[in-house]
Assembly symmetry: C2
Homo-oligomer: 215 residues x 2
């Protein structure tokens, strides 16, 4: 059913489809056509049909798509039902907020450990977990085999920490550090979230808009 290699552009749209379908489902909508969905989402009907057909024919001619079925198909494609184990490294402001703010279980993960090397943070309760000393990281990984590490650590620590974690069997990184954790390892997935880059981009675009107005 899952066809070969789907482009990253398509993959990045899947969670968005998922969100919109969830809303439709909550609103009690039973069926939707690619045309109606495209209007809601601000893209073309063609693109929606192309995207979905990377994974299978989920629609029905003359009818459209069943909202519930499509929602569940996309959940399955994304693998959100898996509850892989995740650990957080770095229990600073951002790290703690991510723990408290994110709904991991609906995104395919379960947070099983929080680590920090700062003795002042060790023992602190964040949500239902207490911060552990990073010294115990290796033992923890041997025992629990986490799949994913969330990096909320300083830039300087990111590269070496990631290397160590790969040796401990980590399969994916959700990287909030300012270090570009890319391509370095094979068979390991990386999502870099550069909040600073996003803010800089916003700055640029506001400047552009202002320039455009002055003309």
């Amino acid at each position: 059913m899952a066809k070969g290699n789907v482009s990253l552009s398509v993959v990045r749209r899947l969670p968005r489809y998922h969100r919109f379908l969830k809303d439709l489902l909550n609103a009690g909508t039973v069926r939707i056509s690619s045309g109606d969905l495209s209007a809601k989402m601000g893209l073309t009907a063609s693109q929606i049909r192309q995207d979905l057909n990377c994974f299978g024919g989920f629609g029905q001619q003359g009818y459209g798509y069943n909202v519930k079925d499509l929602y569940e198909e996309i959940s399955k494609i994304l693998g959100l039902g898996k509850h892989r184990k995740a650990i957080l490294l770095g229990a600073g402001n951002l790290g703690r907020a991510i723990v408290l703010h994110m709904d991991f279980s609906s995104r395919g993960f379960e947070l099983v450990g929080i680590f920090d090397s700062n003795p002042e943070l060790v023992g602190l309760k964040v949500g239902s977990l207490a911060v552990q000393d990073s010294a115990g990281l290796e033992d923890f990984c041997r025992q629990h085999h986490p799949d994913v590490a969330i990096l909320c650590i300083p830039k300087e620590a990111a590269k070496s920490t990631a290397a160590v974690l790969v040796r401990y069997g980590i399969r994916g990184f959700w990287n909030f550090s300012h270090y570009d954790l890319a391509l370095d390892y094979d068979g390991v997935a990386v999502e870099n979230v550069h909040l600073g880059d996003s803010l800089s981009t916003l700055c640029f675009r506001i400047n552009e808009l202002e320039k455009a107005e002055k003309e």
Copy 2:
């Protein structure tokens, strides 16, 4: 010097160039060729030269680029020296972490106000600012004319809040809410940061890697 409309793909790479150049600058590197930079960043030399030439000819044949000059040019292009006024809406875990974690001033902004409608949060000090009641938002905007609003509010509130803020003169949104704040307004820039989508994408990609290994 700034040429017409630069594609969003190019714009999104600018902050990354900026980061790498800052590192080079800190390391004391004086000059760099597009070839060397491309190797460091994991892209092609062609792309770097194309990207930079959207804004001007910053290099010199036979020499390459002067790191300090290029760094400053990109700062200028992004407009990071402007210190536009930003306000935060929603002082929950994520909002507070963003205040404490982000270096606004090096990204072209200055945080001038924090608002929340929860009376329990009003008065709370977050960094150097105290959380204000959302009821005072309009007055505040009239007086201070903030340019940007950071939205860390629930999905349900996002749409209407954004509409109100546009009326108060907001020019850009840094949107962390689960609502897709797009295209609704003309002349307003929006950066949607969907952390949940990023996590879902990571989930998908780990599953893909695992499948690939089993073959």
